[in-house]
Symmetry: C2
Subunit: 212 residues, 2 copies
DNA sequence: TAGATTGTTAATCGATTAACAATC
DNA sequence: TAGATTGTTAATCGATTAACAATC
């Protein structure tokens, strides 16, 4: 019902859905009940036709002549993105970046539940990170037999990332957010998204004007 | 010489250039002198024609029948992305994420020089973050008169982000890497890239199979 | 020279946007 | 009803990939 007919939803559409969701939460808090696609364009900069097209992959959401009910649309987008229910997430790599991510304020509000943190550094194992205790990476598969998490955040150095990715797949993880600057080799059934801080900075750097 | 004729380089091309650069650095360390586009495809998964097309925006880089010289290509891509020279970067927001970014290991190797950290929290001002001291955000414009940084990383909460963005523009910053989950309103001449951890997780979450 | 591989053109694919009939 | 705005089709735009002449 909430999934597209043919399964071919463009990734940019999914990214924008997350943006709409955040925006709708703001609107709800502002006590606004209804919005039009034109208003969305005005406030987010995303083309109104784009907005309507994005939603059309998943059904009908608005009333012609009226617009969209804020709360209803919010709930339905949350359902599409599966953020209407708790999702268990595990983190591998308790370095600076990993530790910062555990404490990311929006996580809980978006129903992402960080249930375990792993590292291979013996001196770190057993130490606390926020409300969790760092566990030995070698126990990953075993621990996840109980936890049954499907999402993982990979925040280890590049030279360890592939090995850890293999372990994640072995442990039943099906989606990976990869912060290591390498291209992971995983089975086709595993969904990976890459986040590269340095790549972002490089694109930024390119856009610096050469003339001082 | 190293810029494209018409200035219309696709952003995906720039992102891939950063990937090629990283890969070339690895190749150099492996003492490999020459590569072909076919080999790039085999190792990175990026289509060989794509690789050649990406480079074609900036000139000719290879020898037909031979391939590309690893060190030469590396140097030229670095020049294109302007990561062949030191780039000063300032950070606003010394929270968990911001502090983690300051310590990001690849920064220095990629010639990104973090020269100042700002925050508005009085209890944080004056405290050290790695080798820097957190400065008062209200002194941003003044401090940057001397520093002359053009790149900024914005890692403050959503509700403060727009105000800080205005201050960054005022202080002469021209490119911004925005970690706050809002769409910044800035003059057209300012280049902004958004990184959204929660958006990434939401796209991941969508791809979880519904069937258990 | 023969084989390999580039740079580039043309074909394909996919995403964005404009336009408008349907409808609240 | 008249005005507003949706959902969707068709047009446009842009990026990816295949094909191949040029050339080392």
């Amino acid at each position: 019902m909430y999934s597209s007919q043919n399964g071919k939803v463009p990734v940019p559409t999914l990214e924008r859905l997350a943006t709409y969701l955040r925006y709708l939460i703001d609107l709800e808090q502002s006590q606004i009940e209804t919005i039009s696609s034109a208003e969305v364009e005005r406030q987010t900069g995303i083309n109104a036709a784009q907005f309507r097209k994005d939603l059309s992959y998943f059904g009908e959401f608005g009333k012609p002549g009226v617009g969209y009910n804020v709360v209803d649309l919010q709930n339905r987008i949350a359902r599409i993105l599966k953020v209407d229910r708790e999702q268990k997430v595990i983190l591998v790599g308790a370095g600076n970046l990993g530790s910062a991510l555990v404490g990311y304020p929006g996580l809980k509000e978006h129903r992402f539940n960080l249930v375990a943190v792993f590292d291979n550094n013996v001196s770190k194992i057993g130490r606390p990170v926020w409300d969790l205790e760092i566990q030995d990476i070698t126990t990953l598969a075993e621990v996840n037999t109980t936890l049954q998490a499907r999402m993982a955040i990979l925040a280890v150095p590049a030279n360890a990332a592939q090995k850890v990715a293999d372990m994640l797949v072995e442990a039943g993880i099906t989606t990976i957010l990869n912060f290591a600057p390498i291209i992971l080799r995983v089975p086709r059934s595993i969904y990976v998204r890459n986040v590269s801080f340095l790549q972002e900075l490089a694109v930024l750097s390119y856009h610096l004007s050469t003339k001082p």
